[in-house]
Amino acid sequence: MDNQTISARQYMFLVVFFIIGSSILIVPTPLAAQAKQDAWMSVILAILFGVIFVMFLNKIGSLSSGKTFVQSAIYVFGNWAGRLFCIFYLSFLYILASLVLRNIGDFMTTQIIPETPLQFTHILFLLVVIGGAYIGVESIARSSEIFMPWMILLLIFLTISIMPQINMDQLKPVLGNGVIPIISNSSIVIGTPLLEMVALLMIFPYVKEEKKAKRAWILGTVFGGGVLFLITILCLLVLGSDLTALNAYPTYRIAQKINIAGFLEGLEIIIAVIWMLTIFFKLIILYYATSVGIAQFFTLKDHRPLLLPLGMGMVVLSIIAYPDVAYFETFVGETWLPYSLTHGLILPAILMIGLLVKRRMSRN
């Protein structure tokens, strides 16, 4: 735990990166597979849920008054029950971080550098992340300020250069399958980036002004969700719902289709910078949250000695996590939503009840 603070705007950028990272790669495929051409409506529904969910997390953030999730859990439930509670939370963060690492590793090995073994991609990516987590949250937040304009520019570039290939007929028929698939499929977006935001409760206490931080969190959620919406609808408009569902990385596929005036092609790697950046920030937030959480779990003053051993374990976990693509698809499709629901919604809800009871008791 170090004495660092970040501003509300930097926090907003971190939230945006956190939402876009890794879900930009894995969300459009299952959405288009099930909700077909109406997948974009599911994203809008999910953003609405996200705003309500962030209000709930904001409430916990202000109730715990400057304590992180782990600290307030130990404060509320005592030394043993609180620690048991934290084991669930921290294991969720650690597993999530290794899965995010696996996402970028899979993407790189299948699309960009197929000859490099998966381990080395993971190790190289993680080394940079460990370096960032070593310096602390202040530098992470400042670098997010530097990279945000790049991401926005690249997104605008992608949107404009793919404009000529947009076919509005791909969205028809609107509501062809009724409303039910749209509602049930918004759970994909809810499970992948939104419920994971419980990790940000470890960073929330570092933000200087609490009131501004709350607004920044909601704004960041809306903005990040907007980018997901843009990416999903671009995939649908350019590829159509069937091709989007068939491609493992439809966003990369549309970047490959960029063709400016017949002579400028092959720009996909420049566009891929978007997801490398966003996944980098998501991973660094998760990694920092995990290591600080474990340090507070053992009531250590410094989280830095834990970074390298945790990284070694994470490389192994990320490699054994998914034996093959079919396993990945069943896990993300069937198990991830209940898993993130219990750890992202029920755990914080229990903590919030505990905090409310504790506050009432201390008042009397």
Binding site: V316, T335, Y339
Partner: protein, 74 residues
């Protein structure tokens, strides 16, 4: 073989990078946590580099939620 040797070399490197710093500051608790975590991570990595089939935590998570789903009847 080379994978195992390099894993052990890396963990020794990490140990000698961090441990003297902690020892100088006399942080006993940090020293224990760091050493235990490093020991676990090294063991797991060595087993992985010897191609031992490690248990996958995601299997347990999946089995757990499948049982719960079958209780609820989904």
């Amino acid at each position: 073989m080379w994978a195992t040797i390099s894993v052990i070399a890396v963990s020794l490197l990490i140990f000698f990078l961090e441990f003297p710093r902690l020892k100088r500051k006399k942080k006993t608790k940090e020293m224990w946590c760091f050493s235990t975590l490093l020991f676990i991570a090294t063991t797991v990595s060595v087993l992985e580099s010897r191609n031992v089939n490690l248990p996958n935590p995601l299997d347990y998570i999946q089995a757990f939620y499948n049982t719960i789903n079958s209780w609820i009847g989904l």
